[in-house]
Amino acid sequence: MLTIALPKGRIAEDTLKIFKEIFNREFEFEDRKLVLESGEFKFLLVRNQDVPTYVYHQAADLGVVGLDVLEDKGLDLVRLLDLKGGYCRVAIGMRNEDELDYNKPDIVVATKMTNIAEKFFASKAISPKIIKLYGSMELAPVIGLADMIVDIVETGTTMKQNGLKVVDTIMESTTHLIANRSSFIEKKSEILDLYSRFEDVINRGGRV
C-alpha cells in the first residue's frame, strides 16, 4: 500500500486524473472526506504547505507539491519527478516608483517564504530584516512595512494591480512528485513502478 499526500484543489484533481489514466479506474474523494482508499493506494488531502511534512514523517510515502514549497521547507526528501505543471516564479516585488538596490544597508523584506528569502539574500551576502506574513503580501511595500516582498508570481497581475513590479526572480517552480527516504528503501519497487508510469504520462504531455 502506498500513501500519497495531495494538496487540496487543482493539484489533487490533476493528480487523480493521471491515476485514472494509468490505472483505468475512478479515483475520487467523497464529499468533504480527507482520505480516499482505492486498491493499493491511499490518498490524503492536506494543506499545500503540509505535504512535505506528511511525507517527511512518513505519514505518507509520496506527495505532490510545488518546488517552491519544497525549497522553503528544506526537508530531506527524495525529489522523484518534475510533473511540469503549476509553473510559477518566486520573485521580488517592489513599488513601481522604487529601484532595486542590494547595497542599501537596511533592507526589510516581507514574505511567507522566509527560508527561500533568507537563502537568497545570504547568497548575496545580504542580511535583511525578514518579516513573516501569511497573506496580502502586496500591501507591505505599499504601506511602508517593507522595502520589498518575496512572493509567488504566476502572471504578475496581482502585483501590477497593487502598484508593484517584479524586480528580480529567485527561482522558478513546478509541481514535483516526492518520496520519503525510508519509503524509498522499504517500498522501492512500488515507488519506481509508479514513477515510470507517471513519467510516461508526463512525457506524453500530461501535467499536474
Binding site: L81, S182, I185, E186, K188, L192
Partner: protein, 279 residues
C-alpha cells in the same frame, strides 16, 4: 519565558516503566558485548574531533580554557577510535570496544546510543550478526538495508558524475544516462536478482557487488532490502554499510569506516527510537 517544569526541546526524560525498558535494552546489549569479548569505553562529553564526522551545524560549540573550539560529543565513533589508537592502545591491545552513552546535537537534541567498534580491522559480517543477535534478544525485527557506498563512489568517479546524484537519489538523472546496468542497480532490492545484474555490470563495481551478495547470503534474516546505489551522508563510511529501519525510524546503523587511515568496523543502536517504537 521558561516554565519551572520545562525542558529544552529534543532533550529526554525517562522514568518508571520506560526507563526500566531502556535499562533492559542496555543490559541485553552489554551482556552480549561481553560474551563477544568487547570491553566498555566511556568517552568524554567534550571533544575536539567531532567536526571530523558530523556537519558543523549539527554540533554544539564550546571553547576550552585556551579559547580553542571544542564540541559536545555528537558521535561516539570518532572519539572511541582516536582514543583507542592514540592512547588506550599503548597499554591495552584489545581492539573491540563498546559504549553505552548519549550524544548531543544542536540545539538541544539528546540521543542515547549503544555502539560497538572493532578498530583497525574486524569483519562487518560479525558485527552485523552481533547487532542482529541483540535485536533478536529483544524480540525486535526491523527491515535490514544493506548497501555499499563504494559502488556509488566508483560509479561517480568512472562516469564523471557528481556524487550528489546518489546522495539525493536523483532518479531522473540516473535513468537519463540510459545505462542498462545502472538502471538495474537502481531497481535492485532482492539479493536473488544480484547475479543477473552482476553479469551486466562493469568490472569496476563487480567486487563491491559481490561483497553485498556474500554478506546477505551469510545472514539468516527475514526482511533484507539491498540498495546498491544508496549513498550515506556520514562521511567516514567507505564500504559496506547496514541500516535497520521501519516506519520512518532508523534503529541502528553500521559499516566499514576509516579514521586516521585505520580501517575499522562498527555500529550504533539508537535506543530512543526503539523505545518510541515499542511505546
Amino acid at each position: 519565558m521558561v516554565l519551572e517544569h520545562e525542558i529544552p526541546e529534543g532533550s529526554k526524560v525517562y522514568f518508571g516503566e520506560i526507563a526500566k525498558r531502556k535499562r533492559k535494552i542496555e543490559s541485553i546489549a552489554s551482556e552480549l558485548f561481553y560474551q563477544h569479548n568487547f570491553e566498555e569505553m566511556v568517552t568524554p562529553i567534550f571533544s575536539y574531533h567531532q567536526i571530523d564526522s558530523i556537519p558543523h551545524e549539527k554540533l554544539i560549540h564550546l571553547t576550552d580554557k585556551d579559547n580553542y573550539p571544542m564540541n559536545l560529543r555528537a558521535d561516539s565513533t570518532v572519539d572511541v577510535s582516536k582514543l583507542m589508537l592514540k592512547r588506550v592502545g599503548r597499554t591495552n591491545d584489545n581492539s573491540r570496544w563498546f559504549y553505552i552513552q548519549p550524544v548531543y546535537r544542536y540545539p538541544s537534541i539528546e540521543q542515547y546510543q549503544i555502539g560497538a567498534e572493532s578498530i583497525g580491522g574486524g569483519e562487518l559480517k560479525e558485527m552485523l550478526q552481533l547487532n542482529i543477535e541483540i535485536f533478536e534478544a529483544m524480540e525486535f525485527q526491523p527491515i535490514l538495508q544493506i548497501s555499499n557506498v563504494a559502488i556509488p563512489r566508483k560509479i561517480a568517479e568512472e562516469l564523471n558524475l557528481s556524487i550528489d546524484i546518489f546522495k539525493n537519489i536523483e532518479i531522473k538523472k540516473i535513468l537519463a544516462l540510459q545505462i542498462d546496468w545502472l538502471q538495474e542497480l537502481l531497481y535492485l532490492e532482492d539479493v536473488k536478482d544480484i547475479d543477473r545484474v552482476f553479469d551486466m555490470s562493469p568490472q569496476f563495481i563487480r567486487d563491491e557487488l559481490e561483497k553485498i551478495k556474500e554478506l546477505v547470503e551469510s545472514l539468516n534474516y527475514k526482511e533484507v532490502k539491498i540498495a546498491p546505489l544508496y549513498y550515506t551522508k556520514m562521511d567516514y563510511y567507505n564500504n559496506l554499510i547496514f541500516k535497520f529501519l521501519r516506519n520512518n525510524r532508523v534503529f541502528a546503523r553500521g559499516g566499514n569506516y576509516s579514521v586516521d587511515g585505520n580501517s575499522s568496523v562498527g555500529f550504533s543502536i539508537y535506543t530512543d527510537e526503539i523505545l518510541n517504537q515499542e511505546s
